[in-house]
């Protein structure tokens, strides 16, 4: 037995001082109230019987004093925090990784896997030894310690209550690395994974995770489950008919039996399409819905069993997507006349095109804020404060330096992934003549001739405004005669307008999202699907956040400068993860080539803090003293 609180000498001093006080008070208590009576022999008559018990009475008074001293002793001992000597040296250091991924929302066990997992961890907490310390961390797309390493069971239970499920997959390797970092050089380290086992391999880009000396334990939660989930959901508008759109689905049956499901498609909250599908066990069923219309902003997909029952995981039964927002763009075309350009711009009904000759540019450019300016064979002295498409730029005002002439250049190299070139095929465009462009720092070469040595199509930004420069006159090529020409022009305008970013129909949960906002915005707030709002950081024109819940989000921003841009944009997020939809619980967990074992024993309800029991005994003794006093047993 050792004293973890006050040392024995101090305890003895406290007991001596307070005990003396108790004794003095007790003696004072024994002084009785003096009362005169007219005839004492009457009292003697009734006290005669008590004479025989006077010795016992004195003993009872002593007993009362002893009870009070015992009470004091218990309280003083509790101050000393006595513990079993062996409990200090045998304490464990435990990191509990609570799986809060989407699959933990499965209801194959009642009420849910996460609730059962919490119950399991709660038992562990209540069975902690006096010297054991524990840290509870939530494991989802990231790992979040819910408190410090502590032996305070009430704090641990409070932290456990904060664990909430997410719609994301768990980043198991990251969680393991966190645990090993925490347990480095700790006594009797142990990692306890409380999960359904759908965690994937314990390795990441940095390689396999090594646990070192830490013992790995696995508490399995859940069993086999029946689930059909939406594992892919995407929507896009047609580039040349943006009033219509097409949708792609993939449904996956991760269960072991045939499932008949009903798929509903909702546009702006209204039912657009409904389909019944049958999925075989383990089947992944893609579906493509072309030429859809009737929705302007949001799309949702829902699946439900035909027989009205629910599968074991609801998180993947609902998917969300957002159609690119349509707004009218002001386009200024500075040209002496180019029928091909005019025709291309006529294809998009959402463009307000204003055409001016080169002489009228100066007046026109200041008349309105322009979303895009197209310079056809004309190059102003300085770049406009707008995004610009330069066709055959010339002179010092060009955003890129125009170098030597090229004869019959071609697109030998193309950056096909750039948004300005989406859906285009430029490989075999024939060009009579052009000029080599010299990109500036940070510019991207989208197309280059002479095996990449002579850039003829360059994109970049100057002063916060984007530009695309084409190093030849399109009329000196067969490009205007190709379908790629209007696509290229409209792609450029869409890129200027950032419509490309909005083209992303939804984000995946568990990933870092970068939502485009105006470049001058420094901070933004995000309204989450549950209605709560949080501030998010803005970096290089993108609001950056880690999203873990599916649904529709809205980013709101306001420029700190007066008159700056303010507004907001909406985006969608989905789970769309076949691995999470496969909810069958795993029997075993392998990490670093080793099979995770069972946890060390926890004894439910047994606490090693003796001071608690001492206080309990003191309370009982007080109650006993109170009862005996009022029943006149000890007085």
């Amino acid at each position: 037995m050792i004293f973890a609180g006050l040392p024995l000498a101090e305890l003895a001093a406290i007991f001596g001082a307070v005990g003396l006080g108790v004794a003095v008070l007790y003696v004072l208590k024994l002084r009785r109230r003096v009362v005169a009576v007219p005839f004492a022999p009457l009292w003697e008559r009734i006290l005669r019987d008590k004479e025989a018990t006077s010795l016992f009475s004195k003993l009872k008074r002593l007993l009362s004093l002893f009870m009070q001293l015992a009470l004091l002793a218990l309280l003083v001992l509790a101050l000393g925090d006595p513990r079993a000597a062996e409990s200090l040296v045998r304490g464990r250091t435990i990191v509990v990784l609570m799986d809060a991924s989407a699959s933990m929302q499965a209801t194959d066990v009642t009420p849910s896997r996460l609730s059962v997992a919490k119950d399991e961890v709660r038992k562990m907490i209540r069975g902690l030894g006096g010297a054991d310390r524990m840290l509870v961390a939530q494991m989802d797309a990231m790992v979040t310690p819910l408190g410090p390493m502590t032996g305070d069971t009430s704090a641990l239970e409070r932290e456990l209550g904060e664990v909430a499920p997410t719609d994301a997959r768990a980043d198991f390797p990251r969680a393991l690395r966190f645990a090993t970092d925490v347990l480095r050089d700790a006594d009797r380290p142990e990692v306890i994974v409380v999960s359904d086992g759908a965690l994937g391999p314990a390795s990441d880009a940095a390689g396999a995770v090594h646990l070192g000396d830490a013992k790995l334990s696995y508490v399995r939660v859940g069993k086999e489950g029946q689930n059909v989930g939406i594992t892919e959901f995407s929507v896009r508008r047609y580039p040349l008919d943006k009033g219509r759109y097409e949708v792609m689905f993939e449904l996956t049956n991760t269960g072991a039996r045939v499932e008949d499901v009903e798929l509903q498609l909702l546009g702006d909250g209204a039912l657009v399409d409904i389909t019944k599908l049958r999925l075989q066990p383990g089947e992944r069923l893609p579906r493509f819905y072309p030429q859809l219309s009737g929705a302007s902003r949001t799309l949702e997909a829902k699946i439900a069993r035909v027989d009205g029952t629910h599968d074991d995981l609801a998180a993947d039964d609902h998917a969300f997507a957002l159609l690119p927002e349509r707004r009218r763009a002001r386009v200024l075309v500075v040209t002496a006349g180019n029928a091909y350009l005019e025709a291309a711009l006529l294809l998009d009904e959402y463009l307000d095109v204003t055409q001016v000759p080169p002489a009228g540019y100066a007046a026109a450019v200041v008349a309105h804020p322009w979303d895009a300016v197209v310079f056809d064979g004309v190059t102003p002295a300085e770049m406009p404060k707008a995004n610009a498409l330069y066709l055959d730029p010339r002179g010092p005002g060009s955003p890129v330096k125009v170098k030597e002439a090229l004869k019959s250049p071609g697109f030998d190299r193309l950056d096909r992934r750039h948004p300005a070139l989406r859906f285009t095929a430029l490989d075999d465009v024939n060009i009579a003549a052009g000029h080599r462009l010299e990109p500036g720092e940070g510019d991207k070469v989208l197309g280059a001739s002479n095996d990449g040595a002579a850039p003829i199509l360059v994109a970049g930004s100057r002063g916060g405004y984007k530009f695309v420069a084409v190093g030849f006159d399109v009329r000196d090529s067969d490009l205007p005669l190709r379908p790629a020409w209007p696509l290229f022009v409209l792609d450029c305008i869409d890129w200027f307008d950032d419509e490309d970013a909005r083209y992303l129909s939804s984000f995946r949960t568990g990933e870092v999202w970068r939502i485009p906002v105006p470049a001058s915005v420094a901070a933004a707030t995000v309204a989450w699907p549950d209605g709560s709002t949080r501030a998010v950081a803005v970096h290089e024109g993108r609001a950056v956040m880690l999203g873990e819940h599916s649904g529709f989000y809205r980013v709101s921003y306001r420029s700190p400068e007066p008159g700056g841009p303010e507004g907001g944009t909406t985006f969608a997020a989905n789970l769309l993860d076949p691995a999470e939809s496969a909810i069958a619980s795993q029997d075993r967990l392998f990490v670093d080539g080793k099979d995770a074992g069972e946890t060390s024993p926890f004894h439910l309800g047994v606490r090693r803090e003796i001071w608690m029991y001492l206080l309990l005994a003191a309370a009982l003794l007080t109650a006993l003293e109170w009862a005996t006093y009022h029943r006149r047993v000890t007085v």
């Binding site: 009785r32 109230r33 003096v34 009362v35 005169a36 009576v37 007219p38 005839f39 004492a40 022999p41 009457l42 009292w43 003697e44 008559r45 009734i46 006290l47 006149r632 007085v635």
Partner: protein, 316 residues
Amino acid sequence: MSLFDVLPWRREKKAVAAVEDDLFDDEFQRKLEYLALVSRRVFAGRLRAERRTKKSGSGIEFADHREYQPGDDFRSLDWNVYQRFNRLLVRLYEEEEDLAIYLILDTSASMAQGGEGGPATTKLAYAKRVAAALAYVGLANLDRVSIVTTSDRVMERMQETRGKARIFKAFRFLRGLSAEGTTDLGDAMKTFVAQNKRRGLAVLISDLYDPRGVERGVNVLRYAKFDTFIVHVVDPADGRPNLQGDVLVYDCETGDEREVTVTAKVLSRFADAYRGYLGDVERFCATHQVPYVAASVDVPFDELILRVFRRGGFLR
């Protein structure tokens, strides 16, 4: 009101004096008149104001004969008897005399105990009123009334007096009494008997808290041929003391101490003991044919006096 009256001890003294004045106020004196009247009406014809002793003397009522002895008054010879029986016998007549009434007032310390309603409600105050009332009735009946105070001895004495007008002397005497000392009725009555050769009615007004027993004192009176009458002054609060918890009780007369933890059970047992004590006293008096009246301080004194009259023994 003088300047010194603001001092606390002065105020207290004045308050006590006021209480003493109130003790025999006009209302009290009117009640005395009423009691004297009632005593005459109730006992008229049966009980006269004048008493006759069994002593033969110079009265007019014939009592007996006795043999003539030289020196006897010839006028007393019954010549009719001499003529019939040829014997010289002297006629004896009952001698008329006034009765001596001794009001023996217990002024031991216990008589001042209690009095939950103030000094005027103590047993002593009540006893004073009873003594005053009985004295007035006695004086009105032309008896010789004497008041004696006792504790463990005879303390003070108001000399024998007679006539209604002397009642104020009795008031003055009673006002000056205070309670102190211990009770020892045996010794006190011995002293009383030794000091009063003339026999008469001895009315003992006391709470009878005598540690050595009431019997000794009463028996001394009885053996000395006094007609004894007991007025037992009882304060009901004595039987139900307002105590709770751990207390040290001490006798206000003897100073004897006892540690007691007072509970409801103890109080119940004490009440039983108190009733038993009263019962013992009453039983003793009944056994020895001593008139006894329990005078509770709760009962108005005039009602008590009537009870005394009805009980008999005081007036005859």
